[in-house]
């Protein structure tokens, strides 16, 4: 019995019907198998119509989602942050571990819009933070496993804990930026990108801790902490202290001092969080 609401033909029953119908008059053993499903398909206009209706409904739904998704998740803006290539990732990772020799930290602009990360190493991207976050969760699972402390829900706990700290950081920095009335072009996604760069150092520290014990962990973590500190200060200085950085001279002492303190606080929070999120993984 063809159900008018089903979207896909039940070819098993149609085939058996086809077989049975053909076997009775001719008595042949094997009727052509291709004929019976097609015959059942075309001979059942109700399910045909149902399929057409279903596909048009799906197309409408997809249109609606595509129209409205841009309101909630800025998809087009996100695409900018994932426009990376291998060279950029390699150079950026090198910069995260050794930012001391890099001279020019300005993001290049191209007629009012920042250049895509593929063409400018100073541009923030979301690819490295996202990959680093996932790798951090996996490495945490590995570390816990080597100490016989692993269980699958601990993995989810690590991920959710790191994500919660990230959210708290972003909210705290946005609040302080609002309180200090900084006119900056630092968007929320930019901030998430910058704060996500510390996961790279954390992964390095934990891996070294797994290979060489506590001494290796502290050495590499210390190095990565200092590197991230310098990286964040040099990057945020251009975004938050825009006037002073452009002119090279502090314009108004008190206000710029507050901004400087804010930058230093943000940069100093990175090593603290790096230690806090990894010390329990290395025994």
């Amino acid at each position: 019995m063809a159900d008018p609401h089903q979207l896909f033909d039940d070819t098993s029953s149609a085939q058996s019907r086809g077989y049975g119908a053909q076997r009775a008059p001719s008595g042949l053993g094997y009727p052509a198998p291709s004929a019976s499903p097609q015959a059942a398909f075309l001979a059942d206009p109700v399910s045909n119509m149902a399929m057409a209706y279903g596909s048009s409904l799906a197309a409408q739904g997809k249109e609606l989602v595509d129209k409205n998704i841009d309101r909630f998740v800025p998809v087009t803006k996100l695409k900018y942050y994932f426009a990376v290539d291998t060279m950029y990732v390699g150079k950026k990772l090198g910069l995260l571990f050794f930012p001391y020799l890099h001279q020019d930290w300005e993001v290049q602009y191209q007629q009012d819009t920042p250049v895509a990360p593929r063409f400018d190493i100073n541009a923030p991207d979301l690819y490295i933070p996202a990959m680093a976050f996932i790798t951090y969760v996996l490495v945490a699972g590995l570390a816990l496993g080597t100490q016989d402390r692993f269980s699958p829900d601990l993995l989810g706990l690590q991920a959710s804990s790191a994500l919660a700290w990230l959210t708290l950081e972003v909210l705290a920095i946005l609040l302080s930026l609002y309180l200090v009335t900084v006119n900056t072009d630092l968007t929320t996604i930019d901030l998430v990108a910058f704060l996500g760069y510390k996961y790279v150092g954390m992964i390095g520290g934990v891996l070294m801790g797994l290979l060489f014990g506590k001494i290796g962990y502290y050495l590499v973590l210390g190095w990565c902490c200092v590197s991230i500190f310098v990286f964040m200060i040099r990057t945020l200085r251009l975004k938050i202290l825009a006037e002073a950085a452009a002119e090279g001279v502090p314009v108004r002492g008190a206000r710029n001092q507050l901004r400087m303190y804010l930058t230093m606080a943000v940069a100093a929070a990175q090593p603290l969080l790096m230690y806090w999120l990894t010390f329990h993984l290395v025994r």
């Binding site: 706990l157 804990s161 994500l163 919660a164 700290w165 609002y178 309180l179 009335t181 806090w276």
Partner: protein, 82 residues
């Protein structure tokens, strides 16, 4: 240290509740943080204190009704699931 997203949500709800509960006349005016005590002219920099006062007043105005709903949901959920 199980610092989950759920804990963060709870903490955020409690913080917003705290800000909303600060009474304008009985408390804020007495410590000089009233809404009409911070107007400092049209200078360029509002300063942290007036930004904070603005923030408190806006949170109070915007979140009064939604907080009733969210708090009721939180109470019901906590009663049901502990």
């Amino acid at each position: 240290m199980a610092f989950t997203l759920y804990l963060l949500l709870q903490a955020a709800l409690l913080c917003v509740n705290t800000i909303t509960v600060l009474h304008e006349e009985r408390f804020l005016k007495n410590i000089g943080w009233g809404a009409d005590q911070g107007i400092g002219g049209f200078g360029e920099e509002p300063g942290i204190k007036s930004q904070l006062m603005n923030l408190i007043r806006s949170v109070r105005t915007v979140m009064r009704v939604p907080l009733i709903i969210i708090n009721s949901i939180a109470i019901v959920l906590l009663l049901l699931f502990g």
